[in-house]
Symmetry: C2
Subunit: 253 residues, 2 copies
């Protein structure tokens, strides 16, 4: 399975994904689910994918193909020079539309055949980022290609196995949450998910984009045994146990 | 939806269920999902139900019909006097088999028709209790009528919306957990579920059977605003916030 979470805060965007994929419990692999594109100072975009891996890999390939075609254009008269890409789109909203269109194309191509063989084509993709002159935004693209945006009322998006990691986000994340605290929250959210669902697994991919800064402030892989993540995980485990212990037992039965 | 949890501890059995049922989000009702039968000093049995309400109500009705038929038998020569019931069965394992057989009958009767109309017949039932001369045991009966038993490795069973309330049980429940602490744990587990899933709702039903004591030590309805439950809920909320606050933020981004 998968767990990916994106926070859209006043201070910027925080994204965290796991890397475990499975086709049945006896066929477990590692695939990165986070993809980033950056023109430092101009645009930083991050995708995270859940669901049918062939569908989401197809979407990412289509995005890269468009970028390569445009990049290879000899000059402005080359028809490929006008190819719209996620790095040329005039808004993050338009970027989400492009990702949605690729999603719809992949679904159309394979959905009936997958369904006929009893397999699910469902997939979802979180798209977040910032372009120069625009706000930082985060969207969730569904299988049909439609999408929603994170808003101040619900400043986070989750895909995959979202339930175990949601309660802590519900309790502590607001648009005003600073990045340093938000990082701690997504670590705890991921840690709860890792503990409860074996099909979500290390290593993790982390990305941070600060508000107004069109580049990745942080983009790192968190390997098994990572000191920072392990420290938070152990502290949270102890703090939870202490919290539970601090509440009086129910006497009188 | 539904959330029901049963703990099978060395000290006894603790069961907690919500009472919310919905057929679509615009059709929400209150139905008790916990059913108890007791012959004090001889036998105490508790059922909790999740899934298709018509199926589980049918199972409970079949259990009660058998009890009534046997109870109404004029004397030992009356054929109904030999009707096997959950109060006459010679083991808790046999009680689970009886519940499973009723489940299979209901599934056979309605499943195809429900499925033809795009509806789910799936249901699950937790059966727990103790009879004199036997151990206290807890079983989970699935739609086909088969069942599993709670063991020391996993001393709790959950049905319905189980994910939000599972992490705390994973962390604190062992067979050695005393009842007073176990009650606190199921309150916290239910509280997490109530907060995250609107289709799980108050009031709650609670039952406790102490090891070796074939009667209900506690059987009460917890209404909205219940002092004990509200107190635990608020203390847990504060303790969680403090726990999160006690962990250092991730600096340096």
């Amino acid at each position: 399975m998968t767990y990916c979470v994106a926070l859209r805060l006043d201070a910027g965007i925080v994204m965290l994904s796991d890397t475990r994929t499975n086709a049945g419990i006896d066929n477990v692999s590692r695939y990165g689910k986070m993809f980033t594109w950056e023109v430092p100072g101009e645009r930083a975009i991050c995708l995270m994918c859940a669901g049918n891996l062939s569908i989401t890999q197809g979407v990412v390939t289509a995005i890269d193909t468009a970028l390569r075609r445009r990049g290879a254009a000899a000059d402005d008269r080359d028809p490929d020079a006008g190819t719209e890409t996620i790095l040329s789109a005039d808004s993050m909203y338009r970027v989400a539309e492009i990702v949605g269109a690729h999603m719809a194309t992949m679904q159309e191509r394979y959905r009936d055949q997958l369904s006929a063989q009893g397999q699910a084509a469902d997939a979802s993709i979180i798209v977040a980022g910032q372009r120069i002159g625009g706000e930082h935004r985060a969207f969730m693209v569904y299988s049909p290609g439609n999408f929603i945006e994170a808003t101040p009322d619900t400043p986070f998006l989750q895909i995959g196995e979202h339930k175990y990691g949601k309660p802590i986000l519900d309790r502590v994340i607001t648009p005003e949450t600073p990045i340093a605290r938000a990082l701690k929250a997504v670590y705890v959210s991921m840690d709860s998910t890792l503990r409860s669902n074996l099909s979500v697994g290390m290593p993790l991919d982390l990305a941070v984009i600060r508000c107004g800064d069109c580049r990745f402030a942080l983009r790192r892989r968190i390997e098994e045994g990572d000191a920072e993540f392990t420290d938070i995980s152990e502290r949270w485990s102890n703090a939870l146990r202490d919290a539970f212990g601090s509440i009086p037992d129910i006497a009188g039965v």
